[in-house]
């Protein structure tokens, strides 16, 4: 089937099988490998992208369901050399160790701060419950999210 999806501002048209998952579409058809496949069971959040501005686990959505939608992946956040404030905060607060969960954490954070611009630490921990970091670097991640919220004010 043919789908039309806007990815990071660019319109794309592809023929896909109905069973194509959004994450496969992004990595294989659109060539954007910043979005990771982690657990592949919608537990870990490594594959989180924005669909029409809201965080979604792209391993548990069909590309067909995203037909006509606007997708933002980690590649779509920076403006040229200027990192997105959430990326900057993750960098400055050292909110990563191995980095595998980071793209998903950043995308989940962008969506969270859109919904809760001034989160408490508890809001952040609850808001990121769908993202797992197996290096268990949560403290710095929470610090980064709070710093990003501060920077956006």
């Amino acid at each position: 089937m043919r789908i039309d999806i806007t990815v990071n501002g660019a319109s794309q048209r592809h023929d896909v099988e109905p069973r194509t998952l959004l994450v496969q579409y992004l990595r294989d058809a659109a060539g954007l490998t910043g979005t990771k496949v982690g657990c592949d069971t919608s537990s870990c959040g490594a594959c989180t992208v924005l669909v029409d501005g809201e965080s979604v686990k792209s391993c548990t959505m069909l590309a067909a369901q995203a037909d006509g939608s606007e997708i933002t992946t980690i590649e779509g956040l920076a403006r040229g050399d200027d990192l997105h404030p959430v990326q900057t905060a993750f960098h400055e607060e050292h909110a990563l160790q191995c980095g595998f969960c980071t793209a998903g954490m950043v995308m989940a954070t962008v969506s969270l701060l859109d919904e809760i611009p001034n989160p408490s630490e508890r809001d952040v921990r609850l808001g990121l419950e769908g993202n797992l970091c197996r290096c268990t670097g949560y403290h710095n991640i929470v610090r980064a999210v709070l710093a990003a919220a501060e920077a956006r004010r």
């Binding site: 109905p18 998952l21 769908g130």
Partner: protein, 273 residues
């Protein structure tokens, strides 16, 4: 993990979806947010030949004040429930429990009707709708029928829905002042409840259990004990009466029975506070 091949059609209205179901019979499955069905399809535990995507049927996404009850469109997302002002004023428990489902990403996609139709005894919302005495409006090729929450859930992942029927609306009695608590016991924040217990105190007391059998359950023995004047502590001892919990990697049946007694006591205490 990739689902087995299937054909896909997108419905733009409830009637279009029902027509597609009628055409394809029990080879077809409805797809709403996909938060329950797609994981099953990826594990190949479900292999429908045809998916009828109702995810964009906007006419079934609403929360309306209907006098003594609230009408919720089946395709209303958890995210839209947890932020809804009508529910804040007239049915806070539904807002609270919607906010406990999965995680943010799941709540951005998952729908109340999808959760109810899936009929998973480990899900949060079916047990709440049982406790609140909700009714479900079901539409098929020959018209509509209304089924009470008590009659709707028949067994593990089994409801009264026929293959050509679509759940369109959930009707929830208003409970603006109800004392309420949901005690959800889980290993990780986003997980399904290993066991969950809800108490609604609104004049009488209703108690519902998550994951204590093949369907969501009312803890009838607890409710009866309270009616006969038992204390919360005494009544909660009956929480596992008449239940049939399964054993799995997370818990033995005996441990689930223990959890039910503890969580019902906590829920009753918190709902009475």
């Amino acid at each position: 993990m990739i689902p087995a091949p299937f054909d896909y059609v997108r419905a733009s209205s409830a009637d279009e979806a029902i027509a597609a179901l009628a055409e394809h019979g029990d080879e077809a499955k409805l797809l709403a947010g996909g938060m329950s069905l797609l994981p099953l399809m990826k594990l190949r535990l479900a292999t429908p030949a045809m998916l009828v995507d109702v995810g964009r049927v906007r006419e079934l996404s609403y929360v309306r004040d209907a006098g003594d009850h609230i009408e919720v469109g089946a395709l209303t997302r958890h995210r839209d429930l947890e932020t809804n002002d009508v529910l804040a004023a007239h049915c806070p428990p539904l807002r609270t429990v919607a906010s406990e489902v999965g995680d943010n990403q799941v709540r951005h996609r998952g729908t109340i009707g999808g959760s109810v139709s899936h009929g998973d005894p480990a899900s949060d919302l079916p047990a709440l709708l049982l406790a609140l005495d909700a009714a479900f409006v079901v539409r098929g090729p020959v018209g509509e029928r209304t089924v009470s929450a008590t009659e709707f859930f028949r067994g593990f992942l089994e409801t009264v829905l026929e293959p050509d029927e679509l759940l369109t609306e959930i009707r929830v009695p208003k409970a603006p002042e109800a004392g309420f608590s949901y005690q959800k016991f889980q290993r990780r924040a986003q997980d399904w409840a290993i066991v969950g217990a809800m108490a609604v105190r609104n004049g009488g007391t209703r108690v519902a259990l998550v994951n204590m059998g093949g369907t969501p359950l009312r803890a009838v023995a607890v409710e009866e004990a309270l009616t006969s004047g038992a204390s919360i502590e005494e009544a909660a001892q009956h929480a596992a009466d008449g239940t049939d919990p399964s054993g799995d990697i997370n818990a033995t049946p005996e441990y689930r029975e223990h959890l039910a007694r503890v969580l019902v006591r906590r829920a009753l205490d918190a709902a009475s506070g």
